[in-house]
Symmetry: C5
Subunit: 82 residues, 5 copies
Amino acid sequence: MLRGIIRGHIVSTKKQDSLVGSKFMEVQIMKNGELTDEYLIAVDSVGAGINEEVLITTGSSARLALHNANAPCDAVIVGIVD
Amino acid sequence: MLRGIIRGHIVSTKKQDSLVGSKFMEVQIMKNGELTDEYLIAVDSVGAGINEEVLITTGSSARLALHNANAPCDAVIVGIVD
Amino acid sequence: MLRGIIRGHIVSTKKQDSLVGSKFMEVQIMKNGELTDEYLIAVDSVGAGINEEVLITTGSSARLALHNANAPCDAVIVGIVD
Amino acid sequence: MLRGIIRGHIVSTKKQDSLVGSKFMEVQIMKNGELTDEYLIAVDSVGAGINEEVLITTGSSARLALHNANAPCDAVIVGIVD
Amino acid sequence: MLRGIIRGHIVSTKKQDSLVGSKFMEVQIMKNGELTDEYLIAVDSVGAGINEEVLITTGSSARLALHNANAPCDAVIVGIVD
């Protein structure tokens, strides 16, 4: 998994039907507690908000965190870091 | 997911049968709203065009966005950013 | 697989139900026996602790090392290096 | 998908049985029409030859392009660019 | 697939049960016939030894090369380059 800080929210009105209702967050990745200049877009599954530190699962495993496990999604926020 | 701008259209006459009809777009990847020098080729699933900003799903999850979920495809445009 | 040294433990109280009980370790990746500045977060499956050298499996294969093979997890510690 | 130019052919006499008959091509990856210094090895599925520009699918989706979808292969040439 | 030279053997006594008997090799990756400073750990499936040049399959496809296709493994040596 990756660890990072949520920096923004991406709005996409025209999208795949199975992604309707998904909240796309742009996350700045951290390494060893330090911010990097890497970013990715992940769907929130735990109610996380801007500036919260989160855990992200990528790849096909990410879909297992969604209500619709057939949504074409490759990154999901699966936890909020305390 | 990744975010980027569609920069071109790749034409391939000789290709796998299951990819016939797919529109291959070359997308320049963005990070945190800034363009990078990374590019990838993604199949369009939402009617996106050149210079539009899009969301891309990669890996095996990408196929779930296609009519033919058995097409050998690893990146699909799943949304247009507003 | 990747090889690395466990550097820390990440605590996430609010997380996906299927990840409750998982121990998230931050691992510093090694190459050819040398430490790098790459890190990732992996779930422990073998009882490894801080400063131990471990083997990590990533991607969808990682889930096969967990009791719950449907947990949204993309990296697992699968062995301790002697 | 990735785009690149086939630069060579790799010969492996001793290999997994399910890969017998596969043609392993070394491909130099392109970005936005420019050659990079990245390379990967992909199995040909469309009759492509040295110096042809091709499209490559990676990951588990790649196997869908092969006659034997259970071959341990992670990259396949799925189209020739016109 | 990737191409590389086997540089070492990693010993892990405490590991996942399904990986018992697997031989973990550290491989130095090559690009276009030149050595790079990238390394990964792959399970041998073809009887390859130190200093041999090999082909490696990564990701979930790798498991198809193992006797136990449910082992949590993400990289396998699938061929020896002539």
